[in-house]
């Protein structure tokens, strides 16, 4: 049956009609004869975590949001040695509010759109310059806040509907819709003359969170499951699709007033490989616990911020953690994960607490459209 389907599709493609919109539509609805058609909408919305497909069902609207707190208290140096940032004087927290919407165009095809808002402020170690009759204190804050790139994605699940295994491929494009260039800094100076001359310089850089570069990503997921266990193996590769342009603010201190000017530079973040292995156990029908390991490897980036094109050091981070998901009602799911960084090179590691909700609705009309 599948062989004949596949042959007919290949023939279809050879006729070079595959990319015509109507032909694509026919191709997609060809796979509509899935077991999901025998299940009612309530059953689909109350599916156990381990039984759920990787994508959302046909006609399903899923809205995910929440709050993610990252405690940036560890840095891995070039030799992989962990540095305590609290001791180093630059520990920080990141507050991130993710938002994404997924919709099942077909039983095996999902589209998604997502965006994050984040805010973090990284303070550097204080510097005290002490001379005979002069004392200078310098502190620096690098703030990053704003919206990330808009993430548009498609995910296609294999049409075979095997009982214990499913496979997907996905493509995403991250569009830099929002301003990514830093605002003018807001440095300040305070001076006092007592027994000695005291000056406090506070450097406050106001950066944006978005990368400012159009990025493309391709990924794949494999899900294996038994009655109460599931394992998800994922991998993705992303790369900048163009060079980015940004500005760097510089300042001069003239008669106790800061004068600012900016310089433009080009940069690329390079390529990124991400991977994830997630194991889930369905403890109760409405409660699943998760154990996961994930990693990220970035390479090939460069920047001209210093005036010369300088390559970025490859970054590598391996983390792991625990999580759970609660099926609170047919429309509401709650989830939480704790992630701890274990190994890395040239990168900050953060302890992450991610708490979120997932709202789910299925349009019965749309679901039954091709029944």
């Amino acid at each position: 049956m599948f062989l004949s389907k596949t042959i007919s599709i290949i023939t279809f493609m050879k006729r070079r009609t595959f990319f015509r919109p109507f032909s694509l539509f026919l191709f997609l609805i060809h796979f509509y004869q899935s077991p999901a058609q025998d299940t009612d909408v309530y059953g689909l919305l109350t599916e156990r975590y381990v039984d759920r497909p990787i994508n959302v069902h046909r006609g399903q609207l899923q809205i995910n949001t929440g709050y993610e707190l990252s405690v940036l208290n560890k840095k891995f140096d070039s030799e992989g040695k962990a540095v305590n940032l609290a001791k180093d004087g630059s520990a920080a927290m990141q507050h991130l509010f993710p938002f994404d919407v997924r919709y099942g165009l077909l039983e095996h095809l999902q589209m998604s759109v997502g965006i994050n808002y984040a805010r973090t402020g990284i303070r550097e170690r204080n510097v005290w310059i002490i001379a005979y009759d002069t004392e200078v204190s310098i502190d620096e804050l690098n703030e990053y806040k704003g919206l990330d790139n808009l993430n548009l994605g498609f995910l296609f699940r294999d049409p075979f509907d095997f009982k214990n295994i499913s496979w997907t491929i996905r493509g995403n494009i991250l569009v830099p819709l929002f301003n990514h260039k830093p605002d003018q800094p807001d440095h300040s100076i305070y001076t006092a003359v007592l027994e000695t001359s005291y000056t406090q310089l506070s450097y406050y850089y106001r950066n944006k969170y978005g990368s400012g570069i159009l990025t493309g990503a391709l990924g794949t997921d494999l899900k294996l499951k038994t009655s109460n266990f599931s394992a998800l193996l994922s991998g993705s590769f992303s790369s900048d699709l163009m060079e980015g342009t940004n500005i760097q603010w510089r300042s001069n201190l003239v008669e106790n007033e800061f004068e600012y000017y900016s310089e433009e530079f080009n940069y690329k973040y390079g390529h990124q490989v991400e991977y994830l292995a997630l194991f889930a156990y369905q403890a109760i029908d409405w409660f699943a616990v998760q154990l996961f390991a994930c990693g990220i490897y970035t390479y090939g980036g460069w920047s001209e911020a210093t005036g010369k094109k300088v390559g970025n050091r490859p970054e590598n981070l391996f983390s792991g953690g625990l999580g759970y998901e609660i099926l609170a009602s047919p429309h509401l799911r709650l989830f939480q994960t704790l992630e701890i960084p274990f190994l890395g090179k040239n990168i900050m590691g953060s302890f992450v607490i991610n708490t979120g909700i997932s709202l789910n609705f299925i349009s019965e009309t749309y679901y039954n459209l091709f029944k």
Partner: protein
């Protein structure tokens, strides 16, 4: 006549039916009630034991203009964790007593690079100040003035007394940044709390208000100083909760609270934060509560939304309770 006879007979039948309805009360079932369905105070003879963990980091504050900002002039970074043993007992169906015994573990980090051009040298200094130990113990008595029924809400009054059992002064002082921090506030407080609650199953709504009075205390605020007499500013707070059962075992809570502090008073010389005035904050705290038989597990995240001269970072609270 026949119609009258039938009417009398049918009224007997109806009265029999209503008379047969009985409320089945099994203590083990009552001990499995959730935060929404349980009475406002513990029933007579019920005993609840719990562990409550709170964790938060100090990174940002609401400044005097109400803007969330980072502390400039210092890269000090702190975390605070407390683990509290929570004991509750129902003396009668209306009177409950509570004891809260906290253990605290606070850390503050500070790092600086000292450069002395005259000596052509530089030095990186790092300090870690910790505070571990028993905190201030609280005892409370609650009285249910009005018990809830179908028409009226419950009304509960609570009186908390917090005693200065925690270490109030810094110890093991090596320098101004390296010492053992206090784990107590060095003052006695009285907190009078009034709460009204109504259940509209599967929802419940609570409105509360309270006033916390601080008695005068005496303690060392900073290493190297002498003990100073002080009186912390009293606290007034008002708020409400809206809780909903997501299913038979899970309840989702939503709480909004407004807190207003009066200014602290110092009766001596200290470098403490005497300039902190006009403190207030509005918090939003969603919570998730699991009720699995007699066990109750809950998680709360407290978000400061608006405020003035107070910490602006969220706090995570995790708790586990068991009722006997």
């Amino acid at each position: 006549m026949k119609k009258v006879f039938l009417l009398i007979i049918s009224s007997f039948i109806i009265s029999n039916i209503t008379g047969q309805v009985e409320q089945m009360i099994i203590p083990s079932d009552l001990k499995q009630q959730t935060i929404i369905t349980e009475p406002a105070t513990l029933r007579k003879g019920f005993f609840r034991i719990g562990i409550v963990n709170s964790w938060g980091a100090v990174d940002r504050i609401f400044d005097e203009s109400g803007k969330r900002s980072y502390l400039m002039g210092s890269n000090g970074w702190g975390t605070s964790w407390s683990c509290e043993l929570d004991l509750q007992y129902g003396i009668t169906d209306r009177i409950q007593v509570t004891a809260q015994l906290p253990y605290k573990r606070d850390k503050i980090y500070y790092a600086a690079e000292l450069i002395a051009p005259g000596y052509d040298s530089s030095l990186v200094q790092y300090y870690k100040t910790t505070g571990n130990g028993l905190g201030d113990i609280s005892l409370a008595a609650s009285y249910q003035i009005i018990q809830e029924n179908e028409r009226r809400p419950s009304l509960v009054t609570k009186l908390f007394v917090t005693l200065p059992t925690g270490r109030k002064n810094p110890t093991n002082i090596e320098n101004s940044r390296e010492y053992d921090m206090p784990t107590g506030y060095g003052e006695t407080t009285l907190d009078f709390h009034l709460q009204a609650r109504k259940i509209f199953y599967p929802y419940s709504v609570t409105v509360y208000t309270a006033y916390k009075y601080h008695f005068k205390g005496e303690k060392i605020f900073n290493p190297g100083e002498e003990e100073v007499s002080f009186k912390s500013g009293d606290l007034f707070y008002i708020g409400g909760t809206f809780n909903v059962h997501l299913n038979d075992w899970i309840a989702l809570g939503n709480e909004v609270g407004f807190y207003k502090w009066w200014d602290d008073e110092y009766y001596g010389e200290t470098a403490a934060d005497v300039g902190m005035t006009g403190r207030w904050v509005i918090n939003y705290q969603p919570s998730l509560v699991f009720q699995i038989r007699r066990f109750r597990f809950f998680e709360v995240i407290q978000f400061p939304i608006f405020g003035n001269s107070v910490a602006a970072d969220p706090q995570y609270i995790l708790g586990l309770q068991y009722i006997i």
